[in-house]
């Protein structure tokens, strides 16, 4: 399977998973293409499409919580941010993802 086919497969699978959680792909098409490409590479190297913005720690239970889409494992934080950490997914009501912060103030207590 070539790169584009693998990206399409991830896109199809991810859509089925994130939509019931109230998320969608970011409208930033360039970001989507870049992140999916990184995830295809991470899947080839590590066996799963890990988040390209979080560190693998060689702790299986913890690392598996970073397999994309990792929304379920960071639900409260991502709901407040209205996006996931890498920005591949945003809340369904988001029109302009550029207005969203990547992280929350520490006083929120979720980081």
């Amino acid at each position: 399977m070539n790169l584009q086919s693998r990206k399409n497969a991830l896109r199809y699978f991810f859509t089925k998973v994130v939509e019931p959680m109230g998320f969608k792909f970011t409208p930033d098409a360039d970001l989507v293409e870049f992140v999916l490409e990184q995830e295809v590479a991470l899947q080839s190297k590590h066996g799963s499409p890990f988040c390209p913005c979080q560190p693998l720690r060689n702790e299986r239970a913890r690392d598996m919580q970073m397999v994309c889409p990792c929304i379920a494992f960071h639900r409260r934080q991502f709901d407040l941010m209205k996006r996931c950490w890498c920005g591949l997914f945003v809340h369904q009501g988001v029109v302009d993802p550029a207005l969203l912060p990547q992280s929350l103030p520490r006083e929120v207590g979720l980081e």
Partner: protein, 86 residues
């Protein structure tokens, strides 16, 4: 001049933006890609990431201030850049 260190991943789009932020403004900085580092360096980076309470990368240290995530406004503030992030 303040010392700027960015902890990053080679696969992370926000880490690329972070590097671009400092490079475009000709602000001297060093960066370490976690995924391309040896195990000992990775452990040191994880200490910084966890201390910052960050979910992921980038994590930027500007002198003693540690900033989790791509936050150009906070980088500018920490560096005392006049005109903010313009």
């Amino acid at each position: 001049m303040k010392k700027v260190t960015a902890y990053t991943l080679s696969t992370c789009p926000w880490c690329r933006k972070t590097k671009q932020f400092f490079a475009e403004r000709q602000i001297p900085f060093t960066f370490i890609d976690y995924d391309l580092s040896d195990e000992a360096t990775q452990q040191e980076i994880l200490l910084e990431v966890d201390a910052a309470g960050a979910t992921g990368f980038p994590v930027v240290r500007i002198d003693d201030e540690v900033i989790a995530g791509y936050q150009p406004e906070r980088y500018a503030l920490a560096l005392g850049l006049s005109g903010g992030i313009q």
